[in-house]
């Protein structure tokens, strides 16, 4: 087995050919598993080794099989419930909440997706990240109105009932906050030790269903002077952003459903704008108004915020597209290795510029790289899951992933990314994430 594994090495420090995990491969039964988030704990392993099976004779006339079956097979199960919940044992899987203004504005802040606890590419609705600027409003859908006005032939209002009669489309897209990964940005000179969800969990993926915005803008009748739109939310921050008309007419959606159910309040119930691949902030939640304008409105969140200061004192403005990005989510901050052996490295990649075409993984701090397998057909501006087998020899090492999109964009090393921007720049951090694996299995965030 040793020699076969060595023959399958595709990069240094144990990265292996993906085919090892396929049917008929040599790894059946030998795959190590990641421990649950938390401390290294060997007691359960010892208990399993020392376990002695009871002697039994299920054929005996005086024997009931109950002695040999788990409790779940001997008592009636729980009754039906109207809306399902995760298993009780998973109750620790929660969004990670940061409230920078404390009690003053408890609804201003973020709730991040716990990426270390999730698999696949669809984020459960209850764990989709939330960035709210002054709390989550409660909106009565029967009273909610949506207005299109400005440089149009005919201003129009729409109720939710009216919108329910429009044609819908469903698409799988990620949404990423422009401030995602700020722990790795120029706000910090040293790496912070938090989970992968806390670093990168301002990104989530979902199937969004809604009305193409172009249909509604066409109905109002665009005037030739109209070049931009101003989108405004019905929250107490009155969130507003300017959006180029080209994007609004291309792939913008008025989203009403999220993974098959009506939007969660955190994601803009009863309707939100969805701009695939753009800064999440622009996909205005609780959408109440679109005004067609000739120029940008220069709102607070496209001038003082969501603009990118460079070392020369100039700031980039309207940097809408989220850059190509990836992170390994297992093993990653918040998880602990379960001893040397064979693992499947798993992670997420995405790009605001289109499809992911390649994700490479390094187990030696970026000296050698191996192509990971992309799980399923990568979709435009959606999360892509990547995987690669890895035999950890138990020695300290550095794990990285590097994504490339169909436009040819590739992630940069953090030091290279950082040098582009001024001190304190936090937006659009899409630098390569490095995870350090220690001899004791602890996974930490490091800057390279």
């Amino acid at each position: 087995m040793r020699s076969e594994l060595e023959a399958s090495l595709v990069a240094k420090n144990g990265l292996l050919d993906r085919r090892l995990f396929m049917k008929g491969g040599l790894l059946a039964g030998s795959i190590a598993v990641f421990a649950k988030p938390g401390r290294v704990d060997d007691t359960s392993t010892e208990a399993a080794i020392n376990y002695e099976a009871p002697v039994f004779d299920v054929q005996s006339a005086s024997q009931s099989i109950g002695a040999f079956l788990p409790d779940s097979m001997k008592t009636p199960g729980a009754i039906f419930r109207g809306y399902g919940k995760p298993a009780g044992a998973e109750s620790s899987v929660q969004r990670i909440i940061l409230q920078p203004y404390g009690d003053l504005a408890p609804g201003a802040g973020i709730a991040m997706t716990p990426l270390q606890s999730l698999e696949g590419t669809i984020t459960p609705n209850g764990l989709h990240f939330e960035r709210s600027h002054n709390g989550r409003p409660t909106i009565n859908p029967d009273e909610h109105e949506f207005l299109i006005h400005g440089l149009v032939q005919q201003p129009l209002k729409f109720s939710m009932d009216i919108l329910s009669r429009y044609p819908l489309i469903s698409r799988n897209y990620f949404i990423e906050c422009a401030g995602n990964s700020f722990f790795n940005s120029n706000l910090f000179s040293e790496a912070t030790q938090v989970s992968v969800g806390m670093i990168h969990g301002l990104v989530s993926g979902a199937e969004w269903t809604g009305i193409p915005l172009s249909i509604l803008l066409d109905e109002a009748g665009l005037l030739p002077e109209g070049k931009w739109i101003l989108a405004e939310g019905a929250d107490s921050a009155g969130m507003s952003r300017s959006i180029p008309l080209g994007k609004a007419m291309d792939d913008a959606i008025i989203a009403i459903y999220q993974n098959g159910e009506m939007l969660r309040p955190e994601q803009g119930y009863p309707m939100r704008l969805l701009l695939p691949g753009f800064e999440g902030n622009m996909s205005v939640k609780w959408l109440r108004r679109i005004k067609v304008t000739s120029n940008p409105t220069y709102t607070k969140d496209e001038t003082s915020k969501y603009s990118d200061l460079m070392p020369d004192g100039m700031a980039r403005q309207f940097t809408y597209t989220m850059g190509v990005k990836s992170t390994i989510t297992r093993p990653a901050g918040g998880l602990v290795m379960n001893g040397p052996g064979l693992y499947e490295i798993s992670g997420l990649a995405w790009s605001g510029s289109g499809k992911i075409i390649k994700v490479e993984v390094s187990a030696d701090g970026g000296t050698t790289w191996a192509a990971a397998a992309l799980d399923g057909e990568p979709l435009t501006r959606a999360l892509t899951r990547f995987r690669i087998p890895w035999k950890w020899d138990g020695l300290p090492t550095l794990l990285q992933s590097r994504a490339t999109d169909e436009a040819g964009n590739t992630q940069l090393r953090r030091d290279v990314w950082s040098a582009q921007y001024a001190e304190g720049q936090l937006y659009h951090c899409n630098a390569i994430q490095t995870w350090s694996i220690a001899r004791n299995g602890e996974v930490t965030n490091v800057f390279i």
């Binding site: 404390g102 002054n134 009932d161 489309i169 009305i211 792939d251 607070k300 001038t303």
Partner: protein, 184 residues
């Protein structure tokens, strides 16, 4: 609430749904938007761009703004808007710092348009009671912030005419990054 409470699906619409092409450009809607008169929308249209169109009546200066600031803003933004509670942004100072090793982004040093101050305060501040300041109070506290930054004088009135004329120090400090094809 049911989205389909009053659902009356016309026959042509069923045929349309199942034509199957799911691209906005090839779909068309049933045209059910309710027409409204453009002149009746002043209560809806609260956004103010750099041209100042839509700015309301009223005015204020730094002296009247000091009163509003002290009562409604100081708690978080600190004395003279220099920064205070937690992560509440400093509003004053930092002019000339952007190209240094310690850039300080404030309203005075960073924001390109004064109209943005009015728009944002009026819709979103203070956090515990958004949209509660009168238009004149918003003008006044805008004037106070501008004056603390040395951009206008203590007695300069800010109103619908004067606000769009204020030239912010960092007006030319931004590089447009959109459209992407133009930036290369």
């Amino acid at each position: 609430m049911s989205l389909f409470k009053n659902f009356r699906l016309p026959v042509f619409f069923i045929g349309f749904i199942f034509s199957g092409v799911a691209l906005g450009g090839e779909l068309q809607g049933p045209k059910l938007g309710v027409p409204v008169e453009a002149g009746t929308l002043s209560g809806w249209d609260i956004s103010i761009g750099p041209d100042g169109r839509g700015l309301p009546d009223g005015e204020g200066d730094s002296r009247s703004g000091f009163t509003v600031f002290t009562e409604r803003c100081l708690r978080c933004h600190g004395q003279r808007g220099a920064g205070g509670l937690g992560l509440a942004d400093p509003l004053v100072g930092g002019i000339g710092s952007l190209a240094t090793d310690e850039p300080l982004k404030t309203v005075g040093s960073y924001w390109p348009y004064a109209t943005t101050i009015f728009d944002y305060i009026r819709r979103a501040m203070p956090y515990d009671a958004p949209a509660s300041l009168t238009n004149s109070e918003v003008y006044a506290v805008t004037a106070y912030i501008l004056a603390q930054n040395g951009i206008i004088g203590e007695v300069d009135a800010i109103n619908a005419v004067t606000l769009p004329m204020v030239r912010m120090p960092n007006r030319d400090g931004f590089v447009m990054f959109w459209p992407e094809e133009d930036r290369k």
